[in-house]
Symmetry: C3
Subunit: 205 residues, 3 copies
């Protein structure tokens, strides 16, 4: 039940972020809906393909699909009003979505008895895959590959869930709350992962 | 039978558009073939994965594959001669492909008893997915997200076919002709979908 | 046995090339790992989806996955030392990976009794698909579509293996050695495929 609420918050946050990016790129109404839907459902769709979840799982989310469509419609009609709140609350809602989706993605891999590498990939894809596809469709370099610490929290959740030590709901909630808090801290404190630049190298260009 | 003819016209138009984009980007002969093939078959391939059509469906199109290869070869050998006609007829042929592929894509979803959201996604992907992948591989922002009204006609066809009210061939032909005409009108009259720009917003950049 | 060695060399070369591209784009540590893994395994993953190899095949490569992670870690820690050798040996190792992966990719299609078109697509995707996804995620135009002759050798290997005339191991080795040599020659002699530019055409922009 609580997970349903987290998933709904995440779906709304992801759909809104897709719609905003589309409007920033001056895409038309269709582009706004497409980027919103792709951001909310694209990561899960790629995960399903890679770890072998039946496609039916994607199409049983009719309610989520409608929630996403309504969210995108509201953003398109009142972008300025919503952006004001988005600046304050957007990252918090997005962090909830990242955590909830990553944990659920890893659980899919665990239930299919796949190795831990699959749980990590499933967590990262479900949590941040939609945002990566969104950025590609917007002609941008994927944000999660160069911003504050983001997808790493999904990867760590994938490791913990993938190890299979924490199957009780209570532990999953602990992981969820910790991960959300760490992501919010990453954003507020502007944490960065180490980076080594080879900007002027051109061996492969 | 008529659908076969429409599909052939669409395959040729899509393959040619991929080959032209590749030459515009100064890709080599291999790039021209790859973009041609991807534009013609990429949308259907992604659709098959998302709605669970067996992969065999992709590989039974041997004849279509050969038609695409021949079309690409002709474009590569005589680009200037062909471009002259393409300017006049390209959009018309492309509209036939968009309509035929969108209707057939939606029918796949209906036959698999998937909900209407799947029919819409299948119609959009089959009709415009190849063009989106073509643009990504060419390093461009996808054309269908910002040009005249295009993929929306595929989405509308997806709704109508997905509702399952019009299963007789005669109705499918009516949808096909209407959709092709509306797409041609969109192009000739330069119809545009509403657009709200957040160009100077940078909350997510 | 020998094929295992070739695959390991290819996996290392592909993972390193992904990590280097990520550092050239100033992606953070997570981006370096993600691009390394995607370059090494992305082509095979897409191939599996398109030709219907069960997903389990992807997740049975645990050893390869660990080899890739170790390679990426070493590149990230000692980029300058490694780049020196990479300039000399990188293309040779990459050619081994291209050949080994293309042949194995085509064999997957042959074992599934798919037509020759599937063998070609499988060979090209397995050999060069990872590099294409790497370039897209780095915000670049795919290198294989415009550099010296590269993916064409994979396509030719796909044709030969797909014809099914050369099933004995000895012939596969001959194809492997020829293909690797031709790729190395393509690079050293700067061979180019024919190219026709429509740079100033803008019918589709």
């Amino acid at each position: 039940m609580a997970w349903d609420v987290f998933s709904i918050i995440g779906t709304i946050a992801f759909a809104i972020s897709g719609a905003i990016v589309a409007m920033e790129e001056e895409y038309d109404l269709f582009g706004v809906y497409l980027l919103g839907i792709v951001t909310a459902f694209g990561g899960g769709a790629v995960r399903n393909t890679l770890i072998g979840v039946p496609v039916s799982a994607l199409w049983e989310q009719e309610t989520m699909f409608q929630i996403a469509l309504i969210s995108i419609t509201i953003v398109f009609i009142f972008p300025q009003n919503l952006l004001k709140h988005w600046h304050r609350w957007g990252n918090f809602f997005d962090a909830i979505g990242l955590s909830a989706f990553a944990i659920q993605g890893a659980l899919f891999a665990v239930r299919l008895d796949l190795p831990i590498s699959a749980a990590i990939v499933a967590a990262v894809l479900t949590g941040s895959g939609g945002g990566i596809i969104r950025d590609l469709l917007a002609g941008r370099k994927p944000l999660v590959l160069r911003e504050e610490v983001y997808a790493v929290w999904a990867a760590i959740a994938g490791v913990i869930v993938g190890l299979g030590l924490f199957k009780q709901d209570i532990w999953l909630y602990v992981i969820f709350v910790s991960m959300t808090a760490l992501r919010v801290l990453s954003y507020m404190r502007n944490w960065r992962l180490p980076l080594k630049s080879l900007r002027n190298n051109n061996s492969l260009k």
